[in-house]
Symmetry: C2
Subunit: 340 residues, 2 copies
DNA sequence: TTGAAAGCGCTAACAC
DNA sequence: GTGTTAGCGCTTTCAA
């Protein structure tokens, strides 16, 4: 088989007796080209199956048609689905996604951001695992626009796309109150805006119904994402050990809730009769669990779509005031929070 | 705040009164540079936080330090975990991953392969959703080495990394036989090498124990990945409708098995007492299901690691005879296949 | 040990 | 409409 070297604009120009610039203009749909020339060029391009070299184009034009994506953990269904939805949007606009996983490690995140910038991405999307803003100073020095998702930094004037986590907390809590529970606990995350906001939503809803939240009814944990079931199990044990234990618990995410349910049944109690439990994320397997798990769905695919569209907009109009897009969540009720 | 333009080799060269070439050599650790010069250059690079422009480097050298990854569905935990593990390996070697999702659509896959090649990746990793070899002809024309994973094409002399799916089928089936089952069915996939191989393993194991496999005991399905639970549910209904229904079923993957269990219990039968069911993939939530699900674990993280290492090797030695690396699976027993 | 020259494949600005 | 010139930031080759 003939192994053809990659075809270049130069080859087409030579074949047709025109200049490289003319060919380049046709390629980019530039209008100041004669109809006849355009046809000949396009024909030859097709014949040779010409594929533009994006490195060269990027170097010359400063636009790479590439988007950088940094997630804390690709295995977490939320980030996987977000990435999938995002890449679908970008594919339609002929953008590629360079993927980086920070493994919830700020130092790796920092390194990955650097690597991405070196590659000349047009825009960066990041769900940062930083507890502070350090990694963003580096970004501040660049002209590359960026967009936060899932995890916000209110003090950073940056674009953000995420679920409305205040509503998540309120919605979950109001649902538990609505099925007649009064002693409601919360297994919370740490150091991320969804953690803060869901907790705040929880407190707001409780306050509104004049229900007390004893200090030890809120268990704050690390590692909600990676081994959430273990985290949830241990957190729930603390709640069960309280003198007056809760009759309902709102868990930061579904895996934590699964662990919490396991701890509850291991202690000889029933879900939802003794303790109702709700999670967040609405994982596809929630229906098939030992106790089908109620959850707050934050519309992951839509988040990915919106983030993709905003990212595209930023590539053409980088200098615009920060947008803050919050997608409202929805409640999905299953057996784990059925009324008594 | 000072917004610095990106630092270039030229800037460092000017500051130090040396040539760009000298700086470039220091950057790449070239040995023919004086110790004194090297130190000065490195110092200045650090001071200015120099980051090489990978586009320019790629264009000039032909090496991009970038790997292309094409998966059929990023949301499937197997591909998500594979991608995570792979990107971990590549990060340590300062390679980036460009991610493309084919959505199980051969035409999208074809487009994505083209896009990746335009970007000058050093090596391509792909779990192809093609039923045939069409998309690979394009690859054959290029000098970019590529490596198949998860899904093999035996007639294509290409590198492959995957689980030993023949063993997967045998292991699952032997386990079901080992707990005393004799009428064993299989819910199978279509058009992919894991489907063929698991089916073959199933048949081999049955034949070895002189157990019959009636034709309608093998239900071949599409869409095992995306909505596997629905697929499994419907396939299981067919098996349940048989005059002599199976007393055990080996399902292509865990989601299918979950659907199969749902269909079984919906029909008023018990798992595992009436029908034992085993899946494949060993998803993290298998422990928490209504019926904890036995499964074959194919060591996804290790597959990703191995694929990453082979990919790196291919970037330095592209022309080597195709390797075929099969990782042996392991059996994980849970309640869904406990002996009566 | 260092650097000048050439070029990777493309685009931007401007002349014709 | 089309082409010329210049250059993106880096590497490669080869001469000094």
């Amino acid at each position: 088989m003939m192994l053809a070297m990659a075809v270049r604009l130069k080859d087409i120009a030579r074949d047709l007796g025109v200049s490289v610039v003319t060919v380049s203009k046709v390629l980019r749909g530039n209008s100041d080209i004669g109809e006849e020339t355009r046809k000949r060029v396009l024909k030859r391009m097709k014949e040779l199956n010409y594929q533009p070299n994006m490195l060269a184009r990027g170097l010359a034009s400063g636009k790479t048609y590439t988007v950088g994506l940094v997630v804390p953990d690709l295995v977490h269904p939320f980030f996987a689905e977000f990435a999938k939805s995002l890449s679908g949007v970008l594919r339609k606009s002929h953008r590629a996604v360079i993927l980086a996983s920070s493994e919830e490690d700020p130092e790796i995140e920092r390194q990955e951001i650097r690597t991405l910038l070196r590659r000349g991405i047009d825009v960066l999307l990041i769900a940062s695992c930083q507890p502070n803003l350090r990694n963003f100073y580096e970004l501040g020095d660049e002209r590359t626009p960026y967009l936060l998702f899932d995890r916000n930094f209110p003090h950073l004037a940056a674009h953000f796309v995420g679920s409305n986590d205040l509503m998540v907390g309120e919605m979950a809590t109001n649902h538990l109150i609505g099925i007649g529970r009064k002693r409601i606990g919360h297994i919370a995350g740490r150091n991320t805006s969804p953690s803060y906001d869901r907790l705040r939503g929880f407190r707001d809803a409780m306050a509104e119904h004049r229900l007390p939240v004893p200090e030890d009814y809120v268990v704050v944990c690390d590692h909600m994402e990676e081994r959430g079931d273990k985290t949830g199990y241990e957190a729930m044990q603390k709640l069960l050990a309280l003198k007056e234990r809760p009759d309902a618990v709102f868990c930061y995410n579904d895996m934590t809730a699964i662990g919490a349910i396991a701890a509850t049944t291991a202690a000889g109690l029933r879900v939802p009769e003794d303790i109702a439990i709700i999670g967040c994320g609405n994982m596809p397997y929630n229906d098939y669990l030992k106790v089908p798990l109620s959850s707050i769905d934050h519309g992951t695919a839509e988040l990915g779509r919106i983030a993709g569209e905003l990212a595209l907009e930023l590539t053409s109009h980088p200098e615009q005031p920060p947008k803050n897009i919050l997608v409202p969540p929805t409640l999905v009720v299953r057996a784990s929070t059925l009324p008594r």
